[in-house]
Amino acid sequence: MSYTLEGRTGTWEIVVGLEVHAQVISHSKLFSGASASYGGEPNTHVSLVDAGFPGMLPVLNHECVAQAIRTGLGLRARINLESRFDRKNYFYADLPTGYQISQFTHPIVGEGTVEIELSDGTVRHIGITRLHMEQDAGKSMHDQDPTRSFIDLNRAGVALMEIVSEPDIRSPEEAGAYLRKLRQILRYLGTCDGNMEEGSMRADVNVSVRKAGEPFRTRCEIKNVNSIRYVMHAIEVEATRQIEVWEDGGEVDQETRLFDPSRNETRSLRSKEDAHDYRYFPDPDLLPLVVEQAWVDELERELPELPDDKRDRFIRQYGIPRYDASVLVAEQAIADYYEEVAKGRDARLAANWVTGDLFGALNRTGRSIQDTPISAQALGGMLDLMADGTINGKIAKEVFEDMLETGDSAADIVERKGLKQVTDTGAIDAAVADVLARNADKVEEYRGGKDRLFGFFVGQVMKAMAGKANPAIVNEALKKVL
């Protein structure tokens, strides 16, 4: 079950902890009124506070605090009613004040846990060490001019949540599952859009290796990995590198490394000796952040149903398998869609249609649930036609394809194409008689004990009736005659 890597000297286990930087969804930045929205011409979302002008002071944005608390609650974590902002001092061109305001010693959120599910069905709990708020830096652009660098401060001061996990992750798959789960929770909460391509979610990956039963060995930190796939690759590549170093009799140095996906390798960025001395100290421009328990309670009451709770409810309420439930709660919009389809109908049948035909169609056409051509009401309408016997399952597939193409309702399509199911026993009896007459040899075989041929007769009758016959009546009629 557990993931290991084989080296020359034996079997190695990997130890991974993740630090995820998640950009907070908010109108304005953490300490200024400038817009926090993505995009925009360079340096158009910048206030004098963000640009670090003389005499400018930070003022905490309370919506960002609420977002951090919501996230902490979503991670089932302890909310610290008193937290503090520190300055992390370093010089860089895209850091206007020369320090980043961050919560170093007293974060707003303490220990929590995230439940992940692996492909073999194993469920694991990954510990959360802490979540703290901090400012993002601006962006340096070194590729615009041969001799000069340009700075875009639009992102400078945007609120980030840094979510630090315990070193509980033991495989690339677990790392991937953890990140997907975290992103799912953030999206449910509406606190981060989780869009890794736009950089609104980034991960620093701490990796070490060890032989079974050993204490932790030295770790390396791989900075700023910006996709789940890269995180998984980087872990494997870095663990393999470390095993080689150890097995060659060397020592792994504690250092910061970069993952290069094009060469599938990690490279040293700076060693521990070159590490910055950030000279953290409490920011004297800001008071300690004190939040009332009553406010935390209010935020908790307003929290949406979280994915794990929703999955468990789906299993309970709709009687669907755990796997289907997990798939259906992957996104809030899918879960909502499903619930609308399932409402007052056969919930298992609804789950099959959503996870099977609908997902297949969306995949095929490159669409998401948000721009599905078949609304939940429309799919429900089709299920209703099946339930009242207007169409059977086979015809339903045809109707579904037509709905996908034309956007018409199921009822209109059935009407237009004359697909209404035939329940007239006279017509069915005639078709049965005809099929049996033309296949006298098979009838003999069937009566001789070849039971499997029953399905053949059903198929022939349905074919003769262009698929529109009610399968139950056909079965009954065949049984009677045979």
Binding site: L48, G55, M56, Y99
Partner: protein, 495 residues
């Protein structure tokens, strides 16, 4: 009486009585600046044209009976307050051409109340200094002279030395100062004027260039206690743009001036009888005690046992904060830039050329005390001592209403003295630093002249947000002292 010798209170009355116009009042001051600033160097940037224009607007307001409390009153503004469209240098080369596109809250409040700014006053670079000799725009000369010595140039104190010299010499009726460890009170004492450092959080720090954020506080400097009350009334108040400003009502400060002191308990802290306290200041202190006793106060001996750690603690906390606050002066977005081949080379060249030796010294000290391995021994320990200093005051204020101490251990000294050893210079702030560390309001009031004919100041320290008691006790000292001495160099008769 010359217009440059009036108090703000009298000038405001004179304007309303049409005894003189705002333009006349302001022109008297801008003329005095033209005449004396080349010598005193109290202003970095005089703004005569804008001041005269503002004065004529003030006259229009007066004519329509729409005068505000400070309408037409010429004030000097320490060049640490950002002023919209007016160069703001912090007396540093790195900001020598910086023109802010915004107004500090304190100056905006003064403008709202009608004040006319006659210029930006000189200071120690980034408010770091006690003699106004670290300014990139040259030292300020104290308008006072020692008896029989017209030659020796004395320092005005610092860092608000330009403001103190301007007010003393009649180049402004009042001026803004900022006080981090004594930068309002010590120059006020050296120049024979009144200077008030309000409670930390009373005046907004928004738009004031930061030295040490947890200590910096703006306050008024003027020639009378009442004038300080009038200015503070406008300067004070909650500002949502400064998270450390305190949201509590601003009382009627002028009403406290002249209030009876009957039954007021005045504490005399034993620890302020420190080594190096000059005999003349010791005597002035004793005199102050007698005056307050005569005014109905009860004198109580108190102890502030951690006073002796104040200066050492200050010189850890303030440089630590300044090392971080001044990181933004990197030549990238505003201010001066010296090019370099790499980003680091540009930083180094820019900051080497931009900062003077005292600023560099404090940045280095601050960087050191915050660095890994030293943080606990210095910064953290200093924060603990700071809370003990605060506790000393809090405990004292359970027994007394106000404390009386000297403002500085000596009167003004000569330019060039105390410059060999920075610690000698730092010792000037020994009596002012503890109240800053504790965030308590404090005020210096001139009470007489010393043996060499230089002004001596006494310091009153009050409870948090009880500036009123300072003003009441200060006005009692002022009345008893009858301090009417004027410096040798002054506007009156200068033309």
């Amino acid at each position: 009486m010359s217009l440059t010798e009036l108090t703000i209170a009298d000038a405001a009355a004179g304007l309303r009585a049409r005894k003189f116009s705002a333009v006349e009042l302001v022109r008297a001051h801008t003329d005095a600046i033209t005449a004396l600033n080349p010598r005193l160097n109290a202003y970095i940037t005089p703004t005569a044209d804008a001041a005269l224009q503002a004065a004529s607007h003030a006259d229009e307001a007066l004519a329509k009976n729409e005068a505000r409390p400070l309408t037409g009153i010429p004030l000097g503004i320490k060049d640490l307050f950002c002023t919209h469209g007016v160069r703001t240098t912090a007396a540093s080369n790195i900001l020598k051409n910086f023109v802010p596109p915004y107004e500090s809250t304190v100056t905006a409040n003064l403008l709202r109340d009608g004040a006319v700014f006659v210029g930006k006053t000189n200071l120690d670079e980034f408010a770091m200094g006690s003699a106004n000799i670290t300014s990139a725009f040259g030292p300020v000369e104290n308008p006072w002279k020692r008896n029989g010595d017209a030659e020796t140039k004395l320092v005005p104190g610092g860092s608000s030395g330009g403001s103190a010299a301007a007010v003393a010499a009649g180049l402004a009726m009042g001026a803004t100062g900022t006080d981090t460890g004594g930068s309002i009170r010590q120059p006020a004492a050296y120049c024979g004027i009144v200077g008030l450092k309000p409670t930390y959080g009373r005046c907004s720090r928004f738009g004031t260039i930061a030295y040490a954020s947890s200590l910096d506080q703006a306050g008024p400097m003027a020639r009378s206690v009442r004038d300080c009350a009038i200015m503070l009334q406008s300067m004070a108040g909650f500002d949502p743009r400064d998270s450390t400003s305190v949201n509590c009502d601003v009382p009627d400060y002028s009403a406290a001036v002249g209030r009876s002191l009957k039954g007021l308990k005045v504490g005399i802290p034993a620890e302020y009888r420190a080594e190096g306290l000059s005999a003349e200041i010791e005597a002035a202190w004793q005199q102050g005690i007698e005056w307050l006793k005569a005014a109905g106060c009860e004198i109580v001996d108190v102890s502030l046992p951690h006073t002796k750690y104040g200066l050492a603690t200050y010189y850890i906390v303030a440089p630590a904060e300044c090392s971080s606050n001044l990181a933004r002066y990197d030549g990238l977005r505003f201010g001066e830039r010296v090019p370099g081949d790499t980003l680091d080379a540009m930083y180094e060249a820019t900051r080497r050329a931009g900062f003077g030796p005292e600023v560099r010294r404090r940045i280095m000290m601050g960087t050191y005390v915050l660095s890994a391995g030293y943080y606990d021994a210095y910064y953290l320990k200093a924060q603990k001592v700071r809370s003990l200093i605060r506790r000393d005051f809090t405990e004292s204020f359970q027994k007394v209403d106000v404390l009386l101490t000297p403002t500085a251990p000596t009167p003004a000294f000569a330019q060039g003295e105390k410059t060999d050893d920075p610690v000698q210079m730092y010792l000037n702030d020994i009596f002012t630093v503890p109240a800053s560390m504790a965030g308590m309001p404090a005020m210096s009031v001139p009470v007489g002249l010393g043996a060499t004919g230089l002004p001596l100041g006494l310091q009153l320290i009050g409870r948090p947000f009880d500036e009123e008691t300072l003003l009441a006790a200060g006005s009692a000292l002022e009345n008893a002292a009858g301090f009417t001495h004027r410096p040798a160099i002054r506007a009156e008769g200068a033309k």
